[in-house]
């Protein structure tokens, strides 16, 4: 028993050392080469736009950005897209970018502190996991600009800008699909918690379906329990029990519990919808589409606004900004493994509704505010 333990400790230690080294050294040589070639044109362009309103940023400095992810990027699409957005802004403006990947609270703090030490133009943070640290560090370092995506403290400091999503717009589009595709004329949602915030998913989903056919019945069940965001076994039983009562289209709003709902879909033969990223490949044939958060677009736009000095304290992103969406509207639809790709007529309908939401002819209620 001692040998496996030793090996385990060794693995742990190596992994931690590896993570720490990788953070500070990996990206530096690759990215510092970039500004050498593009610095001259980039700075003239930057000074032209920013010199007049503000004098705080030295115009000859190229843009520097640091992205601190709360968890390893791995295959986590949400976090990878945060890096993609950061990289795109840095490359377009001729600057440098780095990514610091964290694994737990202590590495998150160490990474944010290391980022502050380097004093980049903006530090990019993502998700609710980092919201308290974003609040704390932005207040302690008033000269350092931060952005945080998909979360916001109650009273953000003036140097912290939040990018939040209008999730109800994507959920409404999923509802439109369910409205066309549901044969039982009964739809439902399995939702992590019974809190008002999640109405942006299940209530907007129901409203979308009822905009197609007002007779469609909706039901919603909540996972709750000890671990609502990561109890797939409970979510699966709930989904099976919901499906037994009739709904043939069920929206999975359970984050880490969604795997159980998709298993239930395959067993009981209902169709499902995912959240945040394209979840279709995890159960091909049983997931119609997803309520996407297009993180890279939001990071890119919010960074531009902050760098140009036009960002408000909280900026919301919806269909018109390309911040939320569904796979049906994305260029990668054909390879998405989503069921909606087999229904081009409904894709057309959804496109029309999305255009209506963008131009204002269709109004989607925000369930959070009436």
């Amino acid at each position: 028993m001692t040998r496996p333990l030793k090996i385990l400790v060794l693995v742990l230690a190596l992994a931690l050392v590896g993570a720490a080294c990788g953070d500070s050294e990996d990206e530096a040589p690759a990215t510092t080469a970039a500004p050498a070639t593009t610095a001259a044109p980039a700075t003239t362009a930057a000074s032209a736009t920013t010199a007049a309103p503000t004098t705080t940023m030295a115009p000859e400095d190229p843009v520097s950005l640091i992205y601190v992810s709360p968890n390893p990027l791995g295959v986590n699409n949400f976090l990878i897209l945060g890096e993609v957005g950061t990289q795109r802004v840095a490359e377009r403006r001729g600057g440098t970018w780095k990514t610091f990947e964290s694994v737990d609270d202590s590495t998150r703090r160490a990474n944010i502190e290391a980022a502050i030490d380097e004093a980049p133009d903006v530090i990019v943070l993502t998700t609710f996991t980092l919201v308290e640290m974003a609040d704390e560090y932005s207040k302690a370092n008033p000269d350092q600009k931060f952005i945080i995506i998909d979360a916001c403290p109650e009273e953000p400091a003036p140097n912290l800008h939040c990018g939040v999503f209008r999730e109800h717009e994507g959920a409404f589009l999923l509802g439109v699909m369910a409205g066309h595709l549901s044969e039982a004329k009964q739809i439902g949602s399995v939702v992590a918690l019974d809190i008002p915030f999640f109405k942006r998913w299940w209530q907007s989903f129901a409203e979308g379906a009822q905009s197609v056919d007002p007779d469609i019945e909706n039901s919603v069940v909540f996972i709750a329990g000890d671990n609502p965001f990561s109890d797939p076994a409970r979510a699966k039983e709930l989904a099976l029990s919901l499906a037994a009562q009739g709904p043939d289209h069920i929206f999975a709003v359970g984050a880490g519990s969604n795997g159980g709902i998709f298993e239930a879909a395959a067993e009981a033969g209902f169709l499902s919808y995912g959240v945040d990223v394209n979840e279709c490949p995890s159960a091909p044939g049983y997931i119609i589409d997803n309520n996407l958060k297009v993180v890279d677009a939001v990071v890119e736009q919010l960074l531009d606004q902050v760098l140009d000095g036009t960002a408000g304290p909280v900026v919301s992103f919806g269909l018109s900004e390309g911040g939320t969406g569904v796979m049906a509207l994305q260029p990668g639809l054909a390879d998405s493994q989503c069921v909606i790709a087999d229904h081009p007529d409904i894709v057309e309908e959804v496109r029309a509704v999305a255009e209506g939401i963008i131009d204002g002819s269709i109004v989607v209620n925000d369930p959070l505010f009436g």
Binding site: G74, N76, N227, L238
Partner: protein
Amino acid sequence: MFDQLFDAALLESVVRAMVPILLAALGGMICERAGVFQIAMEGMMLAGAFAAMAGSYLAVSSGLGIVFGVTAGVLISLMLAFGTVSRQGDPIVLGIALNLMALGLTGFLLPQIFGVRGTFRHERIDGLDRLPIPGLSEIPWIGSVLFDQTILGYLAFLLVPAIWLLLFRTPAGLRLRGVGERPLAAESLGVSPTAYKYGAVIASGVLSGLAGTQLALGNLVLFAEGMSAGRGWVAVVAVMLGRAHPFAVFGASLLFAFAEGLGFRLQGNGLPVQITDALPFLVTLIALIAARKRFARLLDLTTGG
């Protein structure tokens, strides 16, 4: 409304929810009988679930998944046995520490080995097949509920009478109970309390490992961080409620699973989640009050005798 409440599907769901709880609770019960207060089932179950998934993924074989799941449960149980039996440590402190360790370690190893956080699903993960018993599984209602289980489901049911026989009808069971109730007396008769307590804790490691395996490869075919989600704690309560008696522990596990399954149904029928979520706790309270008289009589017997 009520015709939608009770049907075979509800009972199937109840049995699925019960099997992991029952397996873990039977292990906790053996420990309780041997005088070790066991609250590390939650961690053992989670570690078992992770290891079972990993084993099944690496070998594309659910059989190896079972072996891995059991091994993980046993490894943690050895730590518990060493700490509480050999070193006389506080089983509550150690149990909680092991639960936290299992949560942290699986959460750490998931991204290190599989490169994902949160949930890992993969077609390589070989789930436990359901093994319907020909003939019996076609009986309406009971058939699909009882005779269409995974191998671990059948095992859980068979273990209830088997452990009862072992505890109350064999010399080894008598010695185990003696070690738990009167360790000094047992020792004076040449029975080693250490050996029996180690045996009991390791047995609970095996059973909790199987509980985790059933969760990750039977109920589902995936691993999610923290997926034991309190089931180990429900097992702790089932041991207490069942007064460490195999059939009563079985009844308690069934009661909790039934309350949960019924809660899901009631939610589907429009009852608010806040009420259905409280149902298992409500059931526990009612069961405790209803069983109070029997407890009092038992207490009289043990203290007065």
